[in-house]
Amino acid sequence: MLDDIVLPDSTVQAQLELFWDIVSNECQEGRKYLIWLDLESSKFFEFHSNDEEQRLDIVIYKKPMMKLFPTLLTVQNQLIADNWDWKTISRTDAQQTDKLYKIFLAIVPILFINNESHTLVLILESMVELLSIPNNKVLRLLQCLLTCSRNNINKSSSYWTFLRKLYSTNSFQQSIFIDTLIASATIHRKSYYCWNFASFFATIEFARGADLTPVYSQVKQFCMRNLDYGAWKVLCEIIIIMVSANTNQYWLKEFERWNDNNNNNKLRTPNNSGRLHQKTMNWAEQELFMLSNYIKSSQTESLIPLTIIKWVYDKLEL
């Protein structure tokens, strides 16, 4: 039972609480960057303002974290022990929810270590609901995970799916997601799940009636710095959407699946959203011409993005 679960000592608990505060609170510095360092320290993490980069650097020290890890995993494994279901605890029982909250704090750092623990992701999702953790805090946690320095964490398909789910069931500012995907793509070049998220995001933003110009502009800037196939594919998809309102039907269905019982979060019809921010074929032709010239003139080892531009020409029948 919940009462039987042994928690870390109070010093560690205080660190865990501070860690959650740091990863889940709004950042005054601009954005957060969680980095792992292979160093010894008395604490498992520290944070400091990085004025030059306009961000808050959160440093996890590998050695103390690895020492702490078995304790945290033991908490998780006590939670999922046989013969009882922790999800049945009463939300109105303050003592129980307080204990569950302390368990939640112990589990959060495991997310930064075990990238594809499906059980852990299910625990997180259930705890967020049981403890009524605000969605904006969950969003900031996911941002930290997806933009952190460890590639196995920032490319986790489970975390990117979690982000799509959270985005679909809430209304957050567009810029938060653009920042996250550009930061993640910058840290982890050619990140498969990151650019698939971008494709999903552009499709749903358009279907929600939003202007895709800021997304297009940021992705284009990224493409000018990186001949990353996935990024260029998304850039071209956005051109197609903005000109023809031709969106990926699969992403629309996924959005509907996450919102199965939520009638307040329905998409606009493609026709409506198409009219709102539609660009002309002339615009598309000019953009494609400029992009082709850029690729041809850049000192690059690859002309692969040209094949994607050709795909847009075919798709738009230009």
Partner: protein
């Protein structure tokens, strides 16, 4: 020295052998390091890890290395009676990936019948219950969808002899939608092509007996372009080579009967250079940390190419061919 593209270089010293005994020892000892952090860090992948290790040992012809009873006991201890299916570790929630690994292990050891009829029915219900109306599969109740899970679902049901048109037909339709303009496949319709996704889609179509849907004229050249200077294979254009693509790319080419499209000797040398010649195991690239995942897929790649007197491996199921022969094939007389 000669150079791979994208700044990888490997030594020109040709290593002519697969360190079979070292790899056996490396895999055997993985389970004895229970005091190591690495052992606990990978708890959530234990069932998959066990499958990778066992399949590598069978391919190396060291199938008696692990105690069969202990392995089966561990697999059965991961049964999730609430949802059906198997978790990655005792008391973990079941997931389609760990469930397939469990079924593969039981099949490999000839122990599928150890599951009582009630559990077997619950297992089939769990897997079938993850299929959505559009034919895709979720990994578990979290709801992630990916062509990986379509393959996993079909492979699992195929091994259990439980495939039906009601499952197969929509799954095939979903996979067909994941085909891209370059002939390759992505994780969902419209997603970027990726060699691992190509494997799961092509292998799923092979299980469904629908390889006629593959655009071979485009896909085979795309797969052969995955070989980079230095012999290794990558998963997407301009990515670094990685030993695991010795499986994802090669198995796809093997299923399409086109293994001749790559330089097999060069790939063999690349895999050899990724071995740890002291402690055993194979890594993703030369001099990196070894792991059991890359160890299996390096060895499996060599088996597909017919090198090193290895046990022949089946390109669709990633299990020894002689065991796969006992699986009833769907849609064939």
């Amino acid at each position: 020295m000669f150079h791979l593209s994208q700044n990888v270089c490997i030594c020109s010293t040709i290593i002519m052998s697969l360190h079979k005994e070292l790899h056996r020892k490396y895999i055997q000892e993985l389970d004895s390091h229970k005091d190591d952090y690495a052992y606990w860090l990978t708890e959530h992948l234990r069932m998959n890890g066990l499958y990778w290790g066992i399949t590598a040992l069978f391919t190396l012809k060291y199938e008696d290395t692990f105690n069969k009873e202990e392995v089966i006991d561990f697999v059965l201890s991961c049964w999730d009676d609430l949802h059906g299916g198997f978790g990655a570790f005792p008391r973990h929630d079941s997931h389609i990936l760990s469930t397939l690994s469990a079924v593969q292990i039981l099949k490999t050891y000839g122990q599928l019948d150890i599951l009582p009829a009630t559990k077997r029915d619950k297992l089939v219900t769990f897997v079938k219950g993850l299929q959505l109306k559009d034919g895709s599969f979720e990994g578990d109740r979290f709801g992630e969808v990916d062509t990986r899970f379509v393959y996993t679902g079909l492979s699992c049901l195929s091994i259990l002899g439980e495939l039906t048109p009601e499952v197969v037909d929509p799954a095939v339709e979903f996979i067909a939608q994941c085909s891209n303009f370059d002939g390759a496949y992505g994780m969902v319709p419209g997603a970027e092509s990726h060699a691992a996704q190509v494997f799961v889609c092509v292998a799923a179509l092979a299980i469904a007996n629908r390889l006629d849907l593959v655009n071979k004229d485009m896909l085979i050249p795309w797969l052969s372009e995955r070989q980079v200077k230095g012999g290794g294979l990558n998963g997407r254009p301009e990515k670094l080579p990685d030993v695991c693509y010795s499986w994802w790319v090669l198995s796809s080419l093997s299923i399409l009967q086109s293994l001749y499209c790559i330089d097999q000797e060069a790939l063999r040398q690349f895999i050899y250079t990724c071995q740890d010649a002291v402690n055993g195991g194979i890594s993703d690239r030369p001099d990196n940390q070894t792991d059991v995942y890359h160890t299996l897929f390096g060895i499996a790649g060599l088996s597909l190419m017919g090198f090193d007197d290895l046990e022949p491996i089946d390109p669709v199921y990633c299990m020894p061919k002689r065991i796969v022969l006992t699986i009833e094939k769907y849609g064939r007389e």
